[in-house]
């Protein structure tokens, strides 16, 4: 875990074509992600549905598909966890989720998932013009943890 970005990397014992299908076929995506989607994914289009994962059934799924480059890149933006159905989350920051696929020797797939943009601020606060930070977020979090007397993770 680094700062405002999450990156996960897994080696899967399945060919890229198989992984690509599991990511981009909306019914297969729903099976592992835990969501019942209204229809197929399409770049530039909104995807809607209902989370089916136990404990989270009250959460609606809404994402915008950004890119679908066959067997290479699948990406979308979303509001990670809108929980309260009575709150309008449209002003809240969206994060970008990217799935990158690379074939491995031996027929497997290296899948890299990144979720970024947690520091994006709501539109109505953008006028405060935050300056680009020095050293990046990971460094800042380390600094803060050090100063708070915690081990740097």
């Amino acid at each position: 875990m680094t700062g405002d970005r999450i990156e996960k990397q897994v080696e899967l014992k399945a060919p890229v074509a198989r992984v690509w299908r599991a990511l981009t076929d909306h019914e297969e995506f729903g099976r592992w992600f835990g969501v019942r989607l209204a229809g197929p994914f399409e770049p530039g289009k909104e995807s809607t549905g209902q989370i089916t994962y136990p404990g989270y059934e009250h959460i609606a799924w809404r994402a915008t598909i950004v890119a679908m480059e066959p067997e290479r890149l699948f990406s979308l933006t979303w509001h990670p966890y809108p929980v309260d159905p009575d709150v309008d989350y449209s002003a809240e920051p969206q994060t970008l989720v990217e799935f990158r696929l690379q074939p491995l020797d031996g027929g497997g797939t290296l899948l890299t998932v990144t979720e970024s943009g947690f520091d994006r601020i709501p539109a109505h606060r953008r006028a405060e013009a935050f300056r680009a930070n020095e050293g990046g977020w990971a460094e800042q979090m380390r600094n803060i943890r050090r100063h708070l007397g915690e081990p740097a993770a």
Binding site: L23, F118, L148
Partner: protein
């Protein structure tokens, strides 16, 4: 932690405010200056900074808005102190999101490797 607590992650907007508030080197320096638990005046916090007192006041206001810093009155003086809770909340939030991905990817693995 109860299942209900797990199902109610922190609001993204609150986390974003904290991230944004910390995403500035002057504000981070102010947080660092207060991270020893001390209470300091604007004059004390401005010392050693190349920016004006007014600018420092503005930065402190942003930190206050994200509830990272709170104001206390000591007689006629205004003192500023750090509240580490929002920073901890943000860390827990990111950890929570991270665990969600671990679980999802484990399910994805089960799905794609089952038919291999």
């Amino acid at each position: 932690m109860t299942a209900t607590a797990r199902a109610r992650p922190p609001r993204t907007a609150q986390a974003a405010n904290v991230f944004a508030a910390l995403g500035d080197s002057t504000r981070l320096a102010l947080v660092n200056a207060l991270s020893d638990g001390s209470r300091r005046s604007i004059a004390q916090l401005s010392a050693g900074h190349p920016v004006s007192r007014q600018a420092i006041t503005k930065h402190l206001r942003v930190l206050e808005g994200a509830r990272i810093v709170r104001q206390e009155r000591a007689g006629r003086e205004r003192l500023f102190a750090l509240d580490p809770a929002p920073i901890e909340d943000v860390r827990r939030y990111i950890d929570w999101v991270s665990r969600q991905w671990d679980a999802r990817l484990a399910r994805l693995r089960t799905l794609v490797e089952a038919q291999a």
